[in-house]
């Protein structure tokens, strides 16, 4: 037993919060996207921390799956960003305004 799990849990929570804040406030799709990755990393850290204190491998396996999901999400997400950019490139509108109330 070394570092108390609380330290890691708080760290992860803070990381999650920073990610969420970024996602809610940033206006660039790519950076919002990175913020999602931050959040997922916070989750990973949480899982690993619990996994260590339970001596249960399950948490680590879950982290593994989260990473796979993150990779899949990135693949598709960046594809969407590229698709949007292709549409928008010619018009140089800096906001997505097609869909509004």
């Amino acid at each position: 037993m070394s570092i108390p799990i609380a330290w890691y849990l708080v760290l992860a929570a803070v990381l999650f919060g920073i990610g969420a804040f970024g996602l809610l406030t940033k206006r660039s799709a790519l950076i919002m996207f990175m913020c999602i990755e931050l959040m997922l990393n916070a989750v990973n850290l949480t899982f690993v921390t619990f996994s260590r204190s339970f001596s249960d491998i399950g948490g680590q396996v879950t982290v593994f799956f989260v990473m796979v999901v993150a990779a899949a999400e990135v693949t598709v997400g960046l594809g969407i960003v590229v698709a949007v950019f292709r549409k928008r490139a010619s018009t140089s509108v800096d906001e997505l305004t097609e869909l509004k109330d």
């Binding site: 999602i36 997922l40 949480t46 879950t62 969407i80 698709a83 097609e98």
Partner: protein
């Protein structure tokens, strides 16, 4: 080191195998055929897979009826009445959507192959969600479903709105997934497992004196689910996405996502966190009030048909949540019944919306529906019936759907929330009625005639007929939902 692989009950995973098999078949075929696979072939394969899901559901049902509900693959997935019915709904929803999409693809001159592959794979995600008995599996299934949909939403590359919608959906969906899995992490910390049965077992055996971690985790799971089912205040993506997505996809999304997400939601709340009912109920209370009112209220001011229907679906989500709020067997059955009846209804509605969108899928102003029933009495009449059913007019399935959740809520001691929901329903009823009325307006008789291809006509007819027939002959579906829930995994 000897590795003992878990036993697999193949019948339990047969639906997703059928769907993924269809997807892979199409994938290989499109790679190996000298000429591309035609839209017809893609549609046939998709339809066959979805019919297979329904057929498998019958076998599963008899299996569960005789052997009882059970879990398989090391308790990762559950085979019970609830999951069977939910996956059958997914099958039916996919079948209907693919028929609509077939016509749309033909009209819009789009290749249907990838569309079908993605739809099949996304549906398999929904099926897995319905069966999942582990938070990790739910998470992965959720992603399968969502990723498929992100792409489907962006599928129409002729409209900028389509990819914009996909981007919004993606960002919100990613956020929701992250929140969900963080919730799962905290629940894992609180209970030492992610398996729903084990969580339930743990919480049943141990009274948590300090349930903070569990509460935090549960709340985050709830937020994650709320995003997926578009419950206010986590609904903000839905109108944009519904509007931007290609219309057949919107119908698909409105039905399949709701089925998958609510099925998993029910399982998590009632099966795993059932003991914590007192904690999550107040949150739901707020959620339901917001959702029903936001859905109904904002729909009133919409000018775009798809946006309007998006808010309407938010409103419906609020009602489905009402069944969850009850948290009883009756509540679960009510939500299931709602899903059973809602899926064909909403797909048929969007089938007509798809037709109305024209070849470019762009003319979706509510105004353009004026006088539809005068120009084309059958189409307009069908749409009127569908709208009334969505509103919850008596003697349609829409009414009994609302009735079932309300009765479950009242049964669980929620008369006030039921009344509040009814108030929202009255607002909702109004905008449906107003729309229906405009179908009979007389000042727009010269709009071009809409050609109804027979597959779409079939879907619309199916939607209308089930709505009316099972709105009067209520017994079968009500019994089905009830029995399915009685066969719920303990």
């Amino acid at each position: 080191m000897k590795l003992v692989a878990p036993s697999i009950h193949y019948l339990a995973i047969a639906p997703e195998l059928a769907l993924l098999g269809g997807a892979l078949l199409l994938l290989f075929a499109s790679a190996l055929r000298p000429s591309r696979i035609s839209n017809l072939q893609a549609t046939v394969v998709t339809a066959a897979s979805s019919i297979a899901v329904v057929v498998i559901a019958f076998f599963q049902w008899s299996d569960v009826a005789s052997h009882g509900a059970r879990t398989t693959i090391d308790h990762a997935i559950a085979l019970d009445g609830f999951s069977i019915v939910a996956s059958a709904i997914v099958g039916v929803g996919l079948l209907l959507s693919t028929l609509v999409a077939h016509d749309w693809a033909k009209r819009a001159n789009v290749r249907n192959g990838e569309f079908s592959i993605l739809a099949l794979a996304a549906s398999s995600g929904a099926v897995i969600m319905a069966q999942a008995n582990d938070l990790v599996v739910i998470f992965i299934a959720l992603e399968i479903l969502s990723i498929g949909l992100y792409v489907l939403v962006a599928f129409d590359r002729h409209r900028a709105a389509s990819s914009e919608a996909a981007l919004k959906y993606f960002l919100m969906g990613g956020f929701a997934s992250a929140v969900f899995i963080y919730g799962a992490a905290l629940v894992y910390g609180a209970t030492g497992t992610t398996n729903l049965s084990s969580i339930s077992y743990f919480l049943g055996k141990n009274e948590l004196l300090r349930p903070g971690l569990l509460i935090a985790g549960g709340a985050l799971l709830l937020v994650g689910f709320s995003f997926k089912v578009a419950a206010a205040p986590f609904h903000s993506w839905a109108p944009d996405v519904y509007q931007g997505a290609p219309s057949p996809v919107t119908g698909f999304m409105a039905s399949i996502v709701k089925v998958g997400a609510f099925a998993a939601f029910v399982r998590v709340l009632i099966s795993a966190l059932g003991t914590q009912q007192d904690t999550w109920r107040p949150i739901f209370w707020v959620l339901i009030v917001l959702t029903t009112f936001v859905g109904a209220g904002l729909a009133l001011v919409q000018r775009d048909a798809k946006r309007l229907l998006a808010y309407s679906s938010i409103n419906h989500a609020g009602f489905m949540l009402l069944g969850l709020w009850a948290g009883t067997v009756r509540g679960a059955a009510a939500t299931l019944y709602y899903l059973i009846t809602y899926a064909p209804l909403v797909i048929a509605t969007f089938a007509i919306v798809t037709l109305m969108g024209g070849p470019n899928d762009t003319s979706h102003a509510v105004e353009s529906y004026r006088g539809l029933a005068r120009r084309q009495p059958w189409l307009g009449g069908a749409f009127a019936i569908l709208l009334l059913a969505q509103a919850g007019a008596p003697f349609t399935t829409g009414f009994f759907a609302k009735f079932s959740v309300l009765s479950a809520a009242v049964d669980a001691g929620g008369a006030p929330i039921a009344i509040i929901a009814m108030v929202a329903a009255s607002i909702a009823f109004f905008f449906y009625l107003r729309w229906t009325l405009s179908l009979y307006a007389e000042d727009a008789l010269d709009a071009p005639r809409i050609v109804v291809p027979w597959p779409t006509a079939l879907v619309i007819a199916f939607g209308v007929v089930t709505t009316i027939v099972f709105g009067i002959w209520v017994g079968p579906f009500a019994d089905l939902a009830h029995k399915a829930t009685l066969l719920f995994l303990p």
